[in-house]
Symmetry: C2
């Protein structure tokens, strides 16, 4: 059964998934790059940059588990790139170059029409104008038995959380204080009650805390 | 040199140091009791309740380290008790009974005059009406070479954080989502920048993550 997952989503100690004032120079906002230091120190993260080294322990295991078993990714437009508004004639093609590390269809939530962008390695970006439910439907169709990743950013995860559509979240808590930015759990629970997730795993490396949350009641264990 | 410390202060995964609607029945607000489950499972926490058992590992070491070396505690009135407004003739005497587990002077921030309350075991509650700086001055005098604990709650810690008066914070991150309540790092950094603390320790038990933050630059290591 296909699951809807958040994986390797980094959050600061004060709850921010991105710093303030995102831009071309600061894709994760001012100070936000520190959220990904742990990720780019792992073997898997280093491999994305063409290196054959890196941390090969707990953090790398979480990184890889987050990459495995995926058939589609959904992301917000602000995660796709820094451009806003209607797409120009020669538009932004993503942060990830000509061979992005997805290797499956990626559905980008946007208000502005754009034809699909097919890149090397099996990644095609589809631009979805009709909202989170339509994007998830298309992602389900593309993923088949495989899982669907809600990639981010904060606003996109919040939308899927509020709609009760996320089965499992793996958050990486990074012990830095950003002081400002986009807070993941702001308004995640509009009624004020608990959002209805149980912690099923809590473990820390010296760099980062890994928390796995599953929608309560906790489903039967699956081999990972 | 006497330090100003926060220790064993529990915060939910979504950043709350207390749930909403604190009351006599829910001293830590609705759902907030879950923040202290880890603490009352430690050997030291169990001892407070007269038991001779409990977790004797990482969590207990942090609990005990937080209790050691203290000469005074400062707390807000809402941590002292659920009563509000002027003190009645037969006032609330704290959550902790006739022999509170402080064994040193405790300074309670309040807007309403009240004579000191001397209880067994060396604990005297002093009621301070002239603000956080005056309370700290009195606590320093009482503590001598020993450290001063800012006990809580959230609002009191925030006031001391904003005033730049806290040297070290040990937070216990509890993997529950409260959804609402008093958020520790809300407005901790009014200017939007980082509050200026570095993480010097990050370690997790299966129950709780311990984070130690020191005011940057990190002071030389001290034996614990």
């Amino acid at each position: 059964m296909s699951r809807v997952r958040v994986n390797n989503f980094s959050v600061s100690l004060d709850g921010y998934g991105a710093g303030p004032r995102q831009s071309l120079d600061n894709p994760l906002g001012v100070g936000g790059h520190r959220l990904h230091d742990w990720l780019f120190a792992t073997r898997g993260g280093r491999a994305l940059m063409g290196h054959d080294d890196g941390e090969d322990g707990l953090d790398n295991r979480f990184f890889q588990a987050g990459e495995d078993g995926l058939g589609a990714t959904i992301m917000g437009r602000n995660m796709f790139g820094p451009s806003r508004g209607p797409w120009p004639a020669d538009p932004w093609n993503g942060w990830w170059g000509q061979d992005p590390p997805f290797h499956h269809p990626v559905f980008v939530l946007t208000s502005h029409a754009r034809p699909p962008l097919r890149l090397a390695g099996g990644t095609t970006f589809h631009f979805v104008q009709d909202g989170i439910h339509a994007a998830l439907e298309r992602a389900r169709e593309a993923a088949g038995e495989r899982d669907i990743r809600i990639g981010g950013g904060v606003h996109t995860i919040q939308q899927y959380l509020r709609a009760g559509l996320i089965d499992e979240m793996h958050l990486a808590l990074v012990p830095v204080l950003l002081g400002d930015g986009e807070r993941l759990f702001a308004g995640a629970s509009p009624g004020g009650g608990p959002p209805g997730y149980d912690c099923v795993e809590l473990v820390s490396s010296p760099a980062v805390v890994h928390v796995r949350l599953c929608r309560a009641p906790v489903p039967a264990a699956r081999p990972r």
